[in-house]
């Protein structure tokens, strides 16, 4: 019980983020359906974002917004790190763009080959 109580919350999020990365990789590598592989990619994406956000957490920190609740003088000692937040913010939007491009490639292949199974698209192998 005391083990759970002493575990910092960012460690829990870090571990489950890493586990989600593994789950997503497993999905990407074992599935043969292209859309399922892209689902695995999007899970890996979410896992990486969780890891990055958890690294930026500071014990007992508040959101990095300096207003009445957090005066300017105390800012540096009370807020969490804004840099990982800013990086993840852009990474999520990029992730959507990448997913959209991958899905449209999958649709394109389906239109040409009438299948989504990657095993049947053999001519693109070397």
């Amino acid at each position: 019980m005391s083990l759970i109580a002493d575990t910092p919350i960012s460690l829990i999020v870090l571990c489950s983020g890493l586990a989600l990365v593994l789950i997503g990789l497993w999905g990407m590598l074992t599935q043969r359906n292209m859309i399922r592989m892209i689902v695995g990619f999007s899970l890996t994406d979410t896992g990486v974002h969780m890891v990055m956000v958890s690294i930026g957490y500071v014990t007992g920190g508040t959101a990095p917004i300096i207003n009445d609740a957090v005066p300017i003088a105390e800012a540096a000692s009370r807020v969490v790190d804004p840099v990982p937040s800013a990086l993840v913010l852009t990474a999520i939007v990029i992730g959507l763009g990448v997913t959209a491009v991958m899905l449209s490639v999958a649709i394109r292949i389906y239109k040409a080959r009438r299948t989504l199974m990657i095993d049947e698209c053999t001519e693109s192998k070397w």
């Binding site: 957490y57 969490v80 997913t99 959209a100």
Partner: protein, 83 residues
Amino acid sequence: MTVPVITLLTILLCSGILISGLLAVTLNNLLSAVISAGLASLFASVVYVVLAAPDVAMTEASIGSGLTTMIFLYAIRKTRGED
């Protein structure tokens, strides 16, 4: 020794993320798998609020679980839901 509420909440949310992630790679129905992936994203956005990153939480909630699921659904419709 009492466990803080915030730790319990984090454990609950993280197990939700892991369970829906596992479902997303194991479910047979493609539609259910995509919805599960969106669910994992939604849980993750609540975790970001717990970790004091509200900006990221807003982005994840609207993009990760809304728009991504939506384009997956459109792609499934275009490929006639082939499994």
